[in-house]
Symmetry: C2
Subunit: 107 residues, 2 copies
């Protein structure tokens, strides 16, 4: 079982952090989301949400989509294909780990 | 879906942190484990493992069991019932969240 535990220890903290796991999962279910919608869904303060989004953008997991609507610029956040893959992998790692531990317990 | 995302944002970081999630899960499968076994299974350095165990002990999630074997004191780490409950709740929160998001996607 050594390897599965080491795999969990090595989980990508950029996604694993609770707020970012929530943000990434929200973004994986929609084409794009605006800042206020993300704030409403996560309950994060504007400042905290900004910090998390910046980290995710630095990691190339999200991108900003700026559209001009009338005279205003509307900013939407999107998950990148790299982010989508990393998120899927992350959940799969958690699920696989959970299953393996359950099997060990019931042996 | 607002509440489930907020629940994920609010996950207990004491357990959620990758190394501590691995340590707690290992301890949940055995009566007790010694320091070296935990180090071997997680691949953590002695220093890192100590820090994580101290945090878990402060949170009352693990406890130390000291036994005198021959002329030596042997220290074993055990998960507390509080820790066991918190870990089960944590995995359940993750699994429930994952299931709800899957349902939303397939709707």
């Amino acid at each position: 079982m050594g390897n599965v535990f080491e795999e969990i220890v090595g989980l990508d903290k950029l996604i694993h952090e609770p707020a970012r796991l929530a943000i990434m999962t929200i973004l994986s279910t929609v084409e794009s989301a605006d800042f206020l919608a993300l704030q409403r869904l996560t309950g994060l303060t504007s400042g905290n949400l900004s910090v998390h989004l910046s980290k995710l953008e630095e990691g190339k997991f999200v991108t900003y989509d700026r559209k001009i609507v009338g005279k205003k610029t509307k900013t939407q956040v999107k998950i990148t294909s790299e982010g989508q893959q990393a998120l899927e992998k992350h959940w799969l790692q958690l699920e696989t780990f959970r299953e393996k531990v359950k099997e060990t317990k019931s042996d």
